[in-house]
């Protein structure tokens, strides 16, 4: 028996949904085929963390305060939250690969600092 055709009002969303499912299935098949053709990607080990967690957490704290960075007072508090003595925070600013820099009275992440945050987040994810 031929089923009763649905009303156009109900049919269009149902067809669209079905189409989205078919497209998603095609993408999965395409990805699986690519994998078969090229072989599996070599497994990338999570980047090793080279510093204690609290070092990264201070950087993450600066990141979480946005693009305007933090002032010295906020930075001192952030360090203290993670067990750093104020005088022990100077290391963040030292060397060619310093993770933080001072712009007047504000403290900002450097590109190296951002890379360290990525390193921490990726390792936490693994």
């Amino acid at each position: 028996m031929i089923p009763e055709p649905p009303s156009p009002d109900g049919a269009i969303p149902a067809i669209r949904e079905e189409l989205a499912r078919v497209r998603a299935a095609m993408q999965r098949i395409e990805a699986a085929l690519t994998l078969l053709e090229n072989g599996p990607e070599p497994e990338r080990p999570a980047r090793a963390r080279t510093r204690p967690d609290r070092y990264y957490l201070v950087l993450l704290g600066v990141y979480e305060r946005g693009r305007q960075g933090v002032d010295s007072e906020q930075f001192g508090r952030l360090g203290a939250e993670h067990g750093y003595d104020r005088r022990g925070l100077g290391g963040y600013f030292v060397g060619a690969r310093a993770s933080l820099r001072r712009d007047g009275d504000r403290i900002h992440l450097t590109a190296e600092g951002l890379a360290l945050i990525d390193e921490y987040l990726e390792a936490a994810q693994a």
């Binding site: 993450l60 990141y63 693009r67 890379a115 990726e122």
Partner: protein, 294 residues
């Protein structure tokens, strides 16, 4: 949530309405993994690299992909959708612009973003909400919110506001991209002739929230921008300019505001397009053959 909704919601208001059945909260970060460090209860993580772009073309996602995303995060016709994220909502604003362009009406940005939620000491949650399978509205692209390079030239010729929201160093052409963003490069540094420099962060107050409308208007006037004229914003890849689009269109209610999402990574790489270096806006040459009919 009352029927009046958006374009901004404060952390306190959001906290109060977290259990509303029609509320959908989405976190959109520059660094999507930050979500795993704790997020607003019930918020879904939307990865802008994966969910808010076409996976192959440099383009916004297609309607089917967007509909699948909306279904996954539980958006229906009745939803109130709140977007928030890190970096003062850069990517949340991009999501807002994209969703608006595809027809969602009840949208809001969390004022101050992730930063404001944390600073208000509101609770963070680590539970990841399960994917939903809702029946969302059908996304339908409204091209009037988006500008192409051709639109940019036409706007400058007509005396509209072309707004460059990047840093001063990028505008002057001292650098192509800020340190840490080398993947967002272009072949040339500088700005589009006729562009006014209005860095995105002017719209942000010291506490990380948006400036009020009066202050925003004062800032616009201070840069010589005309609130009554059409505007196009651009940055490097279209996310900071979505933030400024949000300010001009949604907070100030300016008409005919578009985001040039191709932005500098497109303009600064296209052969033969005019570029100005230095602090002056400059002017378009008599013709831009690749973008204007002879």
């Amino acid at each position: 949530m009352s029927r009046a909704f958006g374009p901004l919601i404060s952390p306190a208001q959001l906290a109060e309405h977290l259990d509303d059945p029609n509320l959908v909260v989405l976190e959109v970060n520059e660094r999507p993994l930050v979500y795993n460090q704790g997020h607003i209860r019930g918020a879904h993580n939307v990865d802008w690299h994966v969910d808010l772009q076409d996976p192959v073309l440099r383009d916004v996602p297609g309607a089917a992909a967007l509909r699948a995303l909306w279904s996954r995060v539980g958006i229906t016709r009745a939803s109130d959708v709140v977007l928030y994220g890190d970096q003062h909502n850069w990517y949340a604003a991009y999501g807002y612009w994209l969703f608006r362009m595809f027809g969602l009406k009840r949208l809001a940005i969390l004022d101050g973003g992730r930063q404001a939620w944390l600073q208000a000491d509101l609770p963070k949650d680590r539970d990841i909400p399960a994917a939903v399978s809702s029946t969302p509205p059908n996304p339908k692209l409204d091209p009037s919110l988006r500008a192409s390079a051709r639109d940019v030239v036409a706007l400058v010729r007509a005396g509209g506001n072309l707004v460059d929201v990047r840093s001063a160093a990028e505008y002057r052409g001292d650098i192509i991209a800020e340190p840490g963003y080398l993947q967002e490069g272009a072949q040339r540094a500088g700005h589009i002739p006729g562009a006014t420099h209005f860095p995105w962060e002017l719209a942000i107050a010291d506490d990380g929230r948006f400036q009020g409308p009066d202050r925003l208007r004062e800032l616009l006037r201070g840069r010589g921008l005309d609130e009554g004229a059409p505007a196009i914003s651009y940055c490097r890849i279209g996310e900071r300019s979505a933030h400024t689009w949000f300010v001009l269109s949604e907070l100030l209610g300016m008409r005919d505001v578009r985001n040039y999402d191709g932005s500098w990574s497109e303009w600064g790489s296209m052969v033969g397009l005019p570029v100005v270096k230095g602090p002056e806006a400059g002017a378009l040459p008599g013709s831009v053959p690749s973008l204007e009919a002879a």
